[in-house]
Amino acid sequence: MNDQPLLNWADLPANDGAADDTAGLIGRCLSGEQPAYVELYDLFSGGVYRLAYSLLGDAQDAEEVLQDSFEYAFRRLNHFDARKSAFKTWLYRIAVSRCRNKRRRKWLPSFSLSVFDGDEPSDPAAPLPDERAQLNEQQRVVWAAVGELSPKLREVAILRYYAGLPYGEIGIVLGIPAKTAESRMRLAHKALRERLSDIAGEE
């Protein structure tokens, strides 16, 4: 994976307008304003949690990644360089790295998010975990299909479908060239389209 040249920072798309607000917020953090840290956390914590949960499939793991990522990011905030990437990209890179470590430590090279097909409670009256109870039938099918993607494809799919990152930024988050991110995305998309053939394209 690392034998290919990494994307040049210069190839990055220009940051959008939201980056200016984030830059101001980071500046306030660095000058010691505690409310700015709160604001920064509130702005990005939901995204980091969703990313971690989507990659790991476990609420406690996702929460640990969330905490670990923000502790690290706040400690190293003066190392963030807005000229190199958007703050979200930098933060997601930190989070993905921790998700990978957690997955390795748990020896889960290809664990599945499909909590809905493998371990249904035998007692139909048993309460479902929150996240399962909230999903409609279609969402269950789609969520299970996302969970069946390999970890590499799932990373790209989450960053594209959920986070909406351009491929250059996906490459930075994952430490791969943008072209590799694109080809993985094609594979992830194809796999999902095949698994979701019954519901894809329905009005």
Binding site: E71, Y162, G201
Partner: protein
């Protein structure tokens, strides 16, 4: 339109949905699907994947607000204690250092009011473990050296006799025994 044209357009629909087409190719697909129902349906299928996936992720991976708040409380850096000027922040270290230095000087008998017998007889300190780890200086029992006191002893304020006599002999404060050997 030929069959190969249609195939070619269909092969572009996934890249179209993924935002991977150049402007020219994109316009070609746009023009084609306006007149070809099959390719239009294929493109619609490709375009439906992203909102389906995003919807499921948003719903399934939704964080509980109270958990986000709990983590927030753990990660927000505490404000730096900037109220204290540098000399105030150093005060505890200074006090400890001075006390340690004073203790060392007292022990070595180099203070003007220290018992002169220490200085003259190169004392060896024998510290016996006590039952009360916080034994005070008053609990120290001094065993004078065999040799007669040096003349300098008279000049010293000589707290030594007081220390010796004041040493409590209660069992719960077994004293530190300081033996000054010749």
């Amino acid at each position: 339109m030929t069959d190969s044209d249609r195939d070619h357009i269909i092969s572009l629909t996934a890249d179209y949905a993924l935002g991977l087409l150049a402007d020219g190719e994109r316009r070609r697909v746009d023009a084609h699907v306006r007149q070809c129902a099959a390719c239009r349906a294929a493109l619609r299928r490709e375009l439906s994947i992203e909102p389906l996936a995003r919807g499921a992720i948003l719903q399934a991976a939704r964080p509980a607000p109270e958990r986000l708040a709990a983590v927030r409380a753990a990660v927000i850096p505490r404000p730096a204690p900037r109220a204290l000027p540098p000399y105030r922040r150093l005060a505890p270290i200074t006090v400890v250092t001075v006390l340690m230095g004073l203790g060392l000087l007292l022990g070595s008998g180099r203070l003007p009011f220290a018992p002169a017998v220490y200085a003259d007889n190169t004392p060896t300190l024998t510290v016996t473990h006590t039952q009360t780890p916080t034994a005070t200086l008053a609990a120290a029992r001094l065993e004078p050296a065999q040799s007669p006191p040096a003349p300098a002893q008279a000049a010293a304020p000589a707290p030594q006799p007081a220390a010796t006599s004041a040493a409590p002999q209660t069992p719960e404060t077994t004293p530190i025994t300081v033996t000054a050997a010749p």
